[in-house]
């Protein structure tokens, strides 16, 4: 009975295929999003796609990048969701990312999408450079609030400015690369020379300067808007200032790791990560998100944060990173001996 044999074969194949489709896929997702947000992101996604389970691996941007690079020849992650675009460019230049154009990618603000087609990474939201200014300590010292980056070089702020070290902090690097892009190289370096005279300390992490300003350890913390808004909510006497020349910014982004065994599930996650729903989810913490028209104002932040952002050339920043950092180190690390 050849007919029934063929039928049986087809039935078996169908059954196998359908069990495969319903089998639960698990994705190992590397991320640097805030610890508070992890559960919320996972829940919202798994509600939309119950057949895919997320296993988070979380660490700060620097550690995560180091980890991903260390695993270059033997990647452990399927997807990277919520890591700085500059780091993803570094991975891309090592050939570690799988290019993929997610559904509806054209709906996103093009500044949040990798320039190549198909893109290797797509953005979620942005963190934007800002100053955290402690009003109580400033009053004690009789300081007036700065309104621009150039203001920070005024002699009155000597010893009252803290900024992240660009060699260890992504935020620090985005500041330096933004100054180089907006002021032009020569002017930017002379600005940083003058700024260096006022710097009390270069910190390892990007949020620490703002938290130092919040607790009065310093008056002005060069940081980004998110920790500032959070500290203000919990009672810190600080103002969040966006300098007049415009702010550097970094996109948090999503990418698929080349060679993943779960490519289909990974694509589903990336598709979802740029959806309107996901962007609304990012908006809980972030004032600027990649999907235009979604962002609602955040407590303690102005409505127009997106307009403070400069035109940021991620590729230029990534390809000149080694050179810029070397120059920075030569100029400021060598001099940064404390005075005591």
């Amino acid at each position: 009975m050849p007919f029934s044999k063929a039928f049986l074969g087809a039935a078996t194949a169908f059954l196998l295929a359908s069990t495969a489709a319903y089998a639960e896929a698990e994705l190992t997702v590397y991320t640097s999003v805030e610890a508070v947000d992890l559960d919320r992101y996972k829940e919202t996604f798994e509600k939309a796609h119950p057949d895919i389970k997320i296993n988070w691996v979380r660490d700060s941007t620097g550690v995560m990048t180091a980890k991903l690079l260390a695993e270059k020849d033997n990647p452990q992650a399927d997807v990277v969701w919520g890591v700085a675009a500059t780091s993803l460019l570094l991975l891309k230049s090592e050939g570690m990312l799988e290019p993929y154009a997610p559904k509806n990618v054209e709906a996103l603000d093009p500044r949040f999408v990798d320039g190549d087609k198909p893109p290797s990474w797509v953005g979620m939201d942005a963190y934007v450079a800002a100053l955290c200014y402690n009003t109580v300590e400033a009053e004690k010292l009789g300081l007036t609030p700065p309104t621009s980056w150039k203001d920070l070089t005024k002699p009155e702020y000597k010893g009252h400015v803290v900024m992240p070290n660009p060699n260890s902090s992504g935020t620090g690097f985005l500041d330096v690369s933004a100054w180089l892009q907006t002021f032009g190289e020569e002017e930017a370096w002379s600005f940083m020379d003058a700024l260096h005279e006022n710097i009390a300390a270069y910190t390892h992490s990007g949020s620490k300067p703002c938290k130092m300003a919040a607790s009065g350890e310093t008056v002005i913390g060069v940081s980004f808007e998110f920790p500032g808004a959070k500290a203000k909510t919990s009672g810190a006497p600080i103002d969040i200032i966006f300098p007049a020349e415009g702010s550097g910014w970094e996109a948090e982004a999503t990418a698929i790791i080349a060679g993943t065994a779960n490519l289909e599930a990974a694509k589903t996650l990336v598709d979802w990560s740029i959806s309107k729903e996901a962007n609304e989810m990012y908006n809980v913490g972030y004032a600027v998100v990649a999907y235009p028209g979604v962002a609602k104002p955040i407590e303690n932040l102005p409505d127009d944060v997106a307009e403070k952002m400069i035109e940021n050339d991620f590729e230029w920043a990534a390809n000149n990173r080694a050179r810029i950092l070397k120059e920075w180190q030569k100029r400021y690390d060598a001099k940064s001996e404390p005075k005591s």
Binding site: R58, Q329, D333
Partner: protein, 677 residues
């Protein structure tokens, strides 16, 4: 009989037969030795070779063709090396690079303009060659063609080679080289201060009749129970810009050398005190009587009798403190400000810049002072002779009102210093928002809302500490037993002993980094343990191996070798003897090792900071990460959790040890009748 022997051919030379017991002992010793080789020697060797692994731009690897203005008429292929020789676009120093180095290809063409209609082709001459078009990685020997506007985005990438250029790079970077001087300076100053304070304490506690000796002894050992990050955090709250006693510094900043020295004195004090106190506790009263009868002044007696008597303790303490300070990473990370230190440099290179090769270079440099201190200490130890002869009369201090009061005042000052630091951390952890809202709150204990790992990190630390204590004591004690009780086989025992002493000289950061290089290699059959709790246990046991090993040896040496001789002649296998006699007698020492490993596993940062994974985050690392993110009050709260856990463990240990000691006594009475039979 003698005649008969003459007819026999000469037999084999007489040799002591190796019994099955000895063979088994050697085998077990070999296994523990292999453990040390895999967990210590090979990773260090791999790290050494990593420091010689460099990245250079090999310009012979790339070939170019240039078109004419019409976009056709291609020139002959020319290598990048030839182009560079022609116009000297890049000096030799630019060709040495890090892993993330990039060279803009357009710079090789003097007349390059991104607006010109000229087109460019590039290819590799070997499969090794790779370059970036924009941020896209391109490999291989195919020609790739770009218009001039895209060609300006072509970046050459370096390839791997071997050489000393990492070291030349290191020594030509002033900020890195300065760390060597800084580290040595800080270590020397801290050693001098700690030794003075510790000697004063030990002197007061051993040579006076003041009150409260027991309490002072307890207080001085407190710093052992907390990670070295904690004094840093305490100093921020005490002397930072919003610090309680900021004005005492007269405008000096606590961030920098001052903070590192004060913090170092805090966390090294118990180590120095215990060593010096042991040295001062034995004294021959006859020397002092002689001094008095010779009418030597107290001052003179102090310098000619007391200090020389304690000199080996002082030397030993000096090296221990020096090594602890120069290899410590947590304290300068928190309070060091911009002051570069070697151990922090390793962290900055690896975590901040992903420059693993430079991290390896700094590690090699950090190994040198640690090794030197270790070697000198070993040499002086060897020259030590017994101070007390059989005829010595134990020295009994006489009450002297003024002197005792001075001793009490000094000890009180030190106690206030220690308790003040710890107390400050507890207060800071309980305050809602320092310094603006001083109401009490448990908000800082909501670790799950912070970066760093949350409460899971705390439970992971306890798991690590328990596993390290159990597994570590077993491995260490077995190793020590085999090396002490095996007869003959001097070469093997010597080698084992050296391996066991080695961890003392290897800083935690260096060990951790070496583990990345060794275990995170997919070709390594042990790759599977990377990122698990197992590698943390392995690393921690190895890091603290030496002190545990020495403790076990001391206990084993106290056992009369006659036990073995008797067991041998009775044909009792050694393992029976081991479980029936050796182990019970050595139980107090074994517990001592276990609690030592437990406490250190709870507090260590440096050894594990490169090795934890997301689900094996640790409390000590969480302190580091929370402080890094600026959440310093929660960091203090987590530090205090470690402190209380260690206090609880110590108390439990004291209770168990007392119970066991009572039982050991009972065992001894039985043994006296049983063993000689």
């Amino acid at each position: 009989m003698t005649l008969a022997v003459d007819f026999l051919p000469p037999g084999r030379a007489l040799r002591q037969q190796i019994s099955d017991d000895d063979r088994l002992k050697r085998a077990v010793m070999f296994v523990v030795g292999i453990y040390l080789v895999i967990a210590l020697a090979i990773p260090l060797f791999v790290m050494l070779s990593k420091s010689l692994s460099t990245y250079t731009f090999d310009l012979h690897q790339f070939e170019f063709q240039v078109s004419d203005e019409s976009g056709g008429g291609w020139s002959d292929p020319v290598t990048a090396a030839a182009l560079n020789t022609a116009i000297a676009a890049f000096p030799e120093s630019d060709l040495e690079a890090g892993a993330d180095g990039r060279l803009q290809a357009a710079k090789l063409f003097a007349d390059f303009s991104f607006r010109s209609p000229v087109r460019y082709r590039i290819r590799g001459t070997s499969e090794e060659a790779h370059f970036l078009a924009g941020s896209q990685l391109v490999r291989g020997t195919e020609w790739k063609e770009y218009d001039s506007n895209h060609f300006r985005r072509v970046m050459l990438r370096p390839s791997r080679s071997v050489g000393l250029s990492n070291f030349t790079e290191y020594f030509s970077t002033p900020s890195l080289v300065r760390s060597i001087k800084n580290s040595v300076m800080i270590a020397l100053i801290s050693t001098a201060v700690t030794l003075t304070v510790a000697f004063g304490l030990a002197y007061a506690l051993n040579r006076s009749r003041m009150r409260g000796k027991g309490a002072f002894k307890l207080i001085v050992t407190i710093p052992i129970l907390v990670p070295s990050l904690l004094p840093g955090i305490a100093l921020v709250y005490l002397f930072g810009n919003q610090g309680v006693f900021k004005d005492l510094l007269l405008g000096h900043s606590i961030y920098g050398p001052l903070g590192i020295v004060v913090g170092s004195v805090f966390f090294t004090l118990p180590h120095a005190f215990l060593i010096i106190s042991t040295a001062l506790s034995v004294a021959d009263a006859r020397h002092y009587e002689a001094a008095t009868s010779l009418r030597a002044s107290r001052w003179r007696t102090f310098w000619t009798v007391t200090v020389p008597g304690a000199r080996y303790g002082l030397i030993s303490a000096a090296f221990v403190v020096f090594t602890l300070v120069i290899t410590d990473f947590g304290l300068p990370k928190v309070i060091g400000g911009q002051y570069g230190m070697l151990a922090v440099d390793i962290y900055k290179q690896v975590i901040g810049q992903q420059n693993f090769e430079m991290g390896a270079v700094v590690s090699v440099i950090l190994l040198i002072p640690a090794f030197l201190a270790f070697a000198v200490d070993r040499m002086t130890q060897r020259r030590q002779v017994a101070l007390l002869s059989a005829r010595a009369v134990p020295f009994e201090p006489k009450p002297r009102r003024g002197f005792d009061a001075a001793c009490f005042a000094f000890c009180s000052l030190v106690a206030i210093f220690v308790l003040g630091m710890i107390g400050m951390c507890q207060v800071a952890a309980l305050v809602k928002f320092w310094p603006y809202d001083l109401s009490l709150s448990l908000r800082n204990y909501a670790f799950d809302l912070m970066d760093g790992g949350g409460w899971d990190a705390y439970y992971n630390s306890i798991r690590l500490a328990l596993m390290t204590a159990v597994i570590g004591s077993l491995i260490v004690f077995t190793g020590a037993y085999m090396v002490e009780k095996t007869k003959g086989f001097g070469l093997g025992r010597g080698a084992f002993h050296m391996l066991a002493m080695l961890p003392m000289a290897v800083p935690g950061m260096v060990l951790g980094l070496a583990y990345i290089f060794f275990f995170n290699n997919p070709g390594n059959p042990l790759h599977g343990i990377y990122g698990t709790m197992a590698i943390l246990v392995l690393c921690t046991v190895t890091h603290f191996y030496t002190v545990a090993h020495l403790t076990a040896l001391t206990a084993l040496k106290q056992l009369d070798p006659e036990f073995e001789a008797v067991a041998d002649s009775l044909k009792i296998p050694f393992y029976k003897l081991f479980f029936r006699v050796t182990l019970p007698v050595c139980l107090p020492a074994l517990l001592e090792i276990a609690i030592y490993l437990f406490v250190n596993a709870m507090t260590t940062v440096s050894a594990v900071v490169f090795l934890y994974a997301t689900d094996t985050k640790l409390a000590s690392v969480a302190i580091l990460n929370m402080d890094d993110a600026g959440d310093i009050a929660p960091a203090a709260a987590m530090g205090m959790m470690i402190f209380y856990t260690n206090v609880a463990a110590k108390l439990l240990h004291a209770v168990v040890a007392r119970l066991l000691l009572a039982r050991t006594q009972g065992w001894r009475q039985v043994a006296q009748t049983a063993v000689p039979a």
